[in-house]
């Protein structure tokens, strides 16, 4: 009977095992690459996030050519210098007499990576007066692609840091509540419920009003992260508490307790490790939610301020009607989070399946 049921279970798990492994692998690799590119934004982006090409407002994505105006083929992709007509601001026409090949490791705006390495070399670019706007420009002539990469530094890491903060706080408070129970448990859980009911949007407006006018982007980033994180810890805390409540009745915990293990020891040695998989899954769910929270906050003008980009404040420009109908490339920051969310959700799903199989 047992053998039969284990066979029935093992066949689908063999098949889904491959899918799960594939899904987990691509999700992890994709997320690693995306985060690496975003960290290295200064190098990967052809321009600085604040460089204004005032002669090119709302320029569409630059066309890469292999065939020139005379019909000749070139192995090296190139772009034409574009100019707008005097009276038609956004009608950019290529100048066939001036072309510039794509260069790798080209010289450009200076940048610093992780506050440590400064350079002026970029992964790719073109020589002025040509421009390489892979995703077009905004109303000030700033390269959308470069801003999207720099914006990811804020949006992705705000989500990640806030989720980590929530998970750690949730682990501590949920662990204590689950382990000690009684009034401590009641107090912690009611406290968590208060946080769930806080209207965080108004909280952020209130916090912003108390801060001085001039706050650095780092402070603004920390503000966004801490507000999102503080408000978001209660859900993981409830989850952790649940896991610990059930785990503390299990035989090996009771045995350890019988041998005189202290509560702190039980928590550290036996109970908290059991919550890791739940927490990881929870983080994989929370990160996209928190990225979205940052996007919404910046969209509403409460996050990172100009000229620093985030996916949210970039998308905020697209809420204007004329931008919506005239410049489709301004909507690309809205699409950027989609593959990231998919990867995180996929990761969360595989982690969940792994937990189930372990149980």
């Amino acid at each position: 009977m047992n053998r039969q049921s284990s066979f029935n279970r093992s066949y689908p798990s063999l098949r889904s095992g491959f899918h799960t492994k594939f899904r987990r692998t691509w999700a992890i690799w994709f997320l690693l690459i995306i985060h690496a590119v975003v960290v290295l934004a200064g190098f990967v982006a052809p321009y600085s996030f604040e460089t204004q090409e005032r002669g090119h407002p709302y320029a569409p994505p630059t066309r890469l050519h292999f065939v020139d105006c005379t019909g000749s083929f070139h192995f090296r992709p190139f772009v034409y210098v574009t100019k707008s007509a005097e009276n038609a601001l956004n009608d950019y026409q290529p100048d066939c007499s001036q072309r510039a090949g794509i260069e790798f490791f080209s010289q450009g705006d200076s940048y610093t990576i992780l506050g440590m390495f400064s350079s002026t070399r970029h992964l790719f670019g073109v020589q002025a007066p040509a421009n390489l706007f892979l995703m077009g420009t905004d109303g000030f002539g700033r390269d959308q692609f470069s801003r999207l990469l720099y914006g990811g530094q804020v949006s992705l890491f705000a989500g990640f840091v806030a989720a980590a903060f929530s998970a750690i706080t949730g682990l501590l408070l949920g662990g204590i509540a689950g382990m000690y129970g009684g009034r401590l448990d009641d107090a912690a859980m009611r406290f968590a419920e208060v946080f769930i009911t806080i209207p965080w949007f108004y909280l952020l407006i209130a916090v912003r009003a108390f801060l001085p006018l001039q706050i650095s982007p780092v402070v603004a980033f920390l503000l966004v992260v801490s507000v999102i994180g503080i408000v978001g810890w209660s859900r993981p805390a409830r989850l952790v508490r649940g896991v610990i409540l059930s785990a503390r009745e299990r035989n090996f915990v009771l045995a350890a307790k019988g041998f005189g293990a202290s509560n702190a020891y039980l928590l550290r040695r036996h109970l908290i490790p059991l919550t890791f998989s739940v927490l990881l899954t929870q983080m994989a769910v929370l990160i996209p939610q928190f990225i979205l929270a940052e996007v919404i906050l910046s969209f509403l003008g409460l996050g990172i301020g100009e000229p620093f980009p985030s996916w949210g404040n970039m998308l905020a420009q697209a809420q204007q009607y004329h931008v919506l109908v005239s410049y489709w490339w301004m909507l690309l920051p809205g699409l950027a989070p989609v593959p990231v969310f998919l990867a995180y959700h996929s990761l969360a799903e595989t982690l969940q399946e792994r937990i189930k199989s372990n149980i």
Partner: protein
């Protein structure tokens, strides 16, 4: 016998017409010179929000002023197209030699929209309310000169005398917008001290009357205000046809400009005004296929500027602001900032070339008062650096500007978060200033909080904001320009002029107020503009064009640069029949 009976019948049929003709003959009607139109039809106009009140005595919001101007009429009116005064309820007037006494002859035989007659008692009653301190009417300021009220007397039922305490050059223009209200409807409220609560949106339409081209038909709170044709209106066209032509004028509430554009495209509204250059460009591309016409009326009376906090009450309360004010008070610093700003980029990128770069608060759209000899500063970084150097500033190796004590020059620029264009201006200014080593931080803020900081707490470094002159005449700018003005924004509450140039501004503005000759006034105002361009209490940036649109078959549509840009002549608007009919 039969013939006699027919003649009698004809006479009976003609009698009312003849009686009507007699009534018209008794009325002092105003004949307009605009294109004669066709009676009938409806017009829908979108507004950002509903009017707060329909009471002209206490109304201050633009939406209420726009609707009230259709319901009510004034004695002397400013023609928005010519920017000159013209007779309205006052048929003619004379001025005393010293310019203090105005004697106005009123039109006879006019009726309010409820059919009750109008005479000098209504004028006296209306001005009594405007001048009453307890009523808190915003129009009171216009009628108080050097702290003394204007005297209003009735000489006969159709003659009124206004005596101003001192010569008042803009006296004729003051009458524009001062609605003459029906004594028979409002006297009771006024005597009971409830005039402020009269004529709200909940008042029954039949209890509201005026001498305007339309009368109130219906109010749907939060949605629309519907006006209907006033059959007693006192204007006729060149063919003798009584105005207005339209049967109905509806104001709908559409809170954002983007939504207004969509409603206009959908045909829900037939007029759109105060468009941003971007939305104008979007609509302009569609005008032929969508059968509307877009109009660029040129630079309006709005001026946008960067202003530094020059208030003197910050020393103890706000030490950080006070520290920076040492830079701001140095005219060379302000001039350097002005020289570093690329106004041409603001005009091109923010307003798509549909704006004028400014040297002072007077835009080139104000043709009568614009001083063309004051040049608009072109961007010059070397000049900016020279000025900063002369003011004791220097640069670190990384191009950071530092003051004489070694402090980096860093400040915040406030900007109202709801105004996209001003936000863009602030971002461009921030980038321009970086080129001379100044680190400016743009702080978007909800407009009421930003205004509170400017007017009350004075807790700000600099702000990008805009003001709209109410009239082309210099007098409404007195409040901003003279040191004791309530909106002397850069330094509020000055007991005496803080600087010699502010003292000179005070003198010049007071002089122009009393000068009765245009050229004399113009010379004085030219000098005012020269001082402002030199001293830069506000760094004037750009004046956007008035961009509007209307359905192409709307007749007599003549957009103006003074409020209400598109429907100031609503009584003359009419619908051309569709082509082919």
């Amino acid at each position: 016998m039969r013939l006699k009976r027919s003649l009698l019948l004809c006479a009976a049929a003609l009698l009312p017409l003849l009686a009507g003709a007699q009534a018209i003959a008794q009325e002092d009607l105003l004949r307009t010179t605009s294109e004669p139109g066709i009676r009938g039809g409806k017009l829908v106009i979108a507004q950002r929000s509903e009017p707060r009140t329909l009471n002209p005595v206490v109304a201050i919001d633009q939406n209420a002023l726009g609707i009230n101007a259709r319901l009510q009429a004034d004695l002397i009116h400013i023609n928005r197209a010519t920017q000159k005064t013209e007779p309205a309820l006052a048929k003619s007037w004379t001025t005393s030699k010293d310019g203090t006494v105005f004697t106005l002859k009123l039109r006879r035989g006019l009726r309010f929209s409820d059919g009750q007659p109008f005479d000098a008692d209504d004028v006296l009653f209306s001005f009594q309310m405007y001048l009453d301190e307890k009523v808190h009417s915003s129009q009171r300021d216009l009628l108080i000169i050097s702290g003394k009220p204007t005297k209003v007397e009735k000489l006969d039922p159709y003659t009124v005398k206004f005596t101003f305490p001192s010569p008042y050059s803009a006296a004729e223009r003051v009458f524009d917008g001062l609605a003459i209200l029906p004594r028979h409807l409002l006297e009771k409220d006024y005597q009971e001290g409830k005039i402020g609560q009269a004529w709200t949106l909940n008042t029954a339409p039949e209890k509201i009357a005026g001498l305007g081209a339309f009368r109130l038909k219906q109010v749907v709170p939060g949605d629309r205000v519907v006006l209907e044709r006033n059959p007693y209106y006192w204007k006729i066209d060149s063919k003798g046809q009584r105005l207005p032509y339209l049967d109905e004028l509806t104001f709908i509430v559409v809170p954002t400009q983007d939504a207004q554009v969509i409603r206009f495209q959908a045909g829900d509204s037939q007029i759109i005004s105060s468009l941003s250059a971007d939305n104008y460009a979007t609509l302009e591309a569609e005008q032929k296929t969508m059968h509307f016409k877009m109009y660029d009326a040129g630079p309006g009376l709005e001026y946008n500027f960067l202003m530094f906090n020059l208030n003197s009450d910050t020393e103890r309360r706000l030490p950080e602001v006070a520290r920076k004010q040492k830079w701001f008070r140095d005219v060379r610093f302000r001039q350097a900032v002005s020289a570093a700003i690329d106004r041409a980029s603001i005009v091109r990128l923010v307003y798509r070339n549909r704006a004028a770069a400014l040297a002072t608060h007077v835009s080139p759209g104000n043709k009568a008062w614009f001083n063309s000899s004051v040049p608009v500063p072109a961007r010059s970084l070397p000049h900016a650096r020279e000025l900063l150097k002369a003011a004791g500033f220097s640069w670190k190796s990384d191009n950071t500007l530092i003051d004489s004590t070694g402090q980096p020059v860093e400040f915040t620029i406030l900007v109202g978060s709801s105004n996209t264009q001003r936000g863009q201006i602030a971002t461009l200014v921030q980038d321009d200033l970086k080129a001379v080593g100044i680190s400016a931080h743009v702080v978007p803020m909800e407009i009421r909080s930003a205004t509170d900081r400017v007017l009350n707490t004075h807790d700000y470094d600099a702000i990008v904001m805009g003001l709209v002159s109410g009239d082309a005449d210099p007098t409404p700018d007195m409040n901003v320009l003279i040191s004791s003005g309530q909106t002397h924004l850069w330094h509020l509450g000055e007991k005496a002029p803080a600087t010699p140039w502010e003292a000179e501004l005070d003198q010049l503005m007071q002089k122009q107020l009393g000068a009765m000759n245009y050229q004399q006034r113009k010379n004085l105002y030219d000098r005012v503009q020269e001082i402002l361009a030199q001293e830069l209490p506000m760094i004037y940036l750009a004046s956007p064009n008035i961009l509007v649109g209307a359905q192409e078959n709307l007749g007599n549509f003549h957009p103006a640069i003074i409020e209400q840009y598109t429907f100031w002549n609503a009584e003359e608007l009419f619908w051309h029949p569709p082509a082919g009919k």
